[in-house]
């Protein structure tokens, strides 16, 4: 980046920014792709993110998590972009994370009753994941990516997405239940069921 005219102290700091920030490009692009669900839009969003990060680098604390900081800027840029273009991005929020969890377990219990154990280890689920992710909202895809793929805690995901931790939990658990339902359906269609039907009156089923 051009640093002509900048003070001597800016040069190394800008160089550090470029090295550290661009090292996060693959993860940042993946996050942007989860938000936009479009390759070109993701690339544009990433560029916008780097410009914002460049100007806001003074607010970045040395030793902080650069990747998480960039995720936050990226999400903020995306929210502003979508608000400007579409005006409405709000979707109904499920308030009960625990109900989503119980529902997911119930779905799995139903599958076990009707077809026996289902293993997800024995088939290439890549295509199924692609299709399932396409059905999620951007908010749902992004929270699954942050927690399940990038390994962020609920608290850190909440910081990135600028929502309460409770919202992260409800979004995440609902998204997982939807993903699970689609993977179960895919596994059943593929014949991935065991030959040991389970009892139909399992008293421990929630």
């Amino acid at each position: 980046m051009a640093v002509a005219g900048a003070g001597c102290t800016d040069v190394p700091r800008d160089a550090v920014f470029e090295a550290a920030a661009l090292a996060c490009l693959p993860e940042l692009l993946r996050f942007a792709r989860a938000l936009t669900h479009d390759d070109d839009a993701a690339a544009d969003l990433v560029q916008e993110t780097y410009v914002r990060a460049y100007h806001g680098y003074a607010t970045f604390l040395p030793g902080a998590d650069m990747r998480r900081w960039l995720f936050t800027i990226c999400h903020h840029a995306w929210v502003r972009l979508v608000h400007r273009e579409r005006r409405v991005i709000l979707t109904p929020e499920g308030e009960s994370a625990e109900l989503e969890t119980l529902a997911a377990v119930h779905d799995h219990a139903d599958s076990r009753r009707s077809g026996g154990e289902i293993s997800l280890d024995t088939l290439d689920l890549g295509p199924a994941i692609d299709r399932a992710l396409a059905t999620l909202t951007p908010d749902a895809r992004s929270v699954v990516l942050l927690v399940d793929v990038e390994g962020l805690s609920y608290e850190h995901a909440a910081e990135v997405l600028e929502v309460p931790v409770g919202t992260v939990r409800s979004r995440l658990f609902r998204a997982r239940r939807l993903l699970q339902a689609q993977l179960l359906s895919f596994a059943r269609d593929a014949g991935l069921v065991g030959d040991r039907p389970l009892p139909t009156n399992d008293p421990r089923t929630p």
Binding site: A43, V46, V51, I129
Partner: protein
């Protein structure tokens, strides 16, 4: 997993209610220990947790890869150059 000793349904409910929190390491040590102990004596809950863990692994490992376009880094550098010296 050990032979199930038919824990009370309420105990199962409490365990599965915490399923995702447990798998995400978002429960406190006492809760973690309690759920772990429950899973050792409840085959059905253990099966639910195992399946959930399996699903998370699938999502983590099969998340679609996003290839970085060859020219994207150059485009970013060019955008930053256009911005001029950073105001800090």
């Amino acid at each position: 997993m050990t032979t199930p000793s038919h824990p009370a349904a309420a105990e199962c409910q409490e365990a599965v209610r915490r399923l995702w929190d447990y798998l995400d390491a978002e429960v406190d040590p006492a809760q973690h220990a309690g759920i772990t102990a429950h899973l050792q004596r409840c085959a059905d809950c253990a099966a639910h947790f195992a399946f959930a863990r399996q699903m998370l692994a699938v999502v983590r490992h099969r998340w679609p890869q996003v290839a970085v376009p060859q020219d994207l880094t150059a485009r970013i550098r060019a955008r930053l150059a256009e911005e001029g010296p950073r105001v800090a």
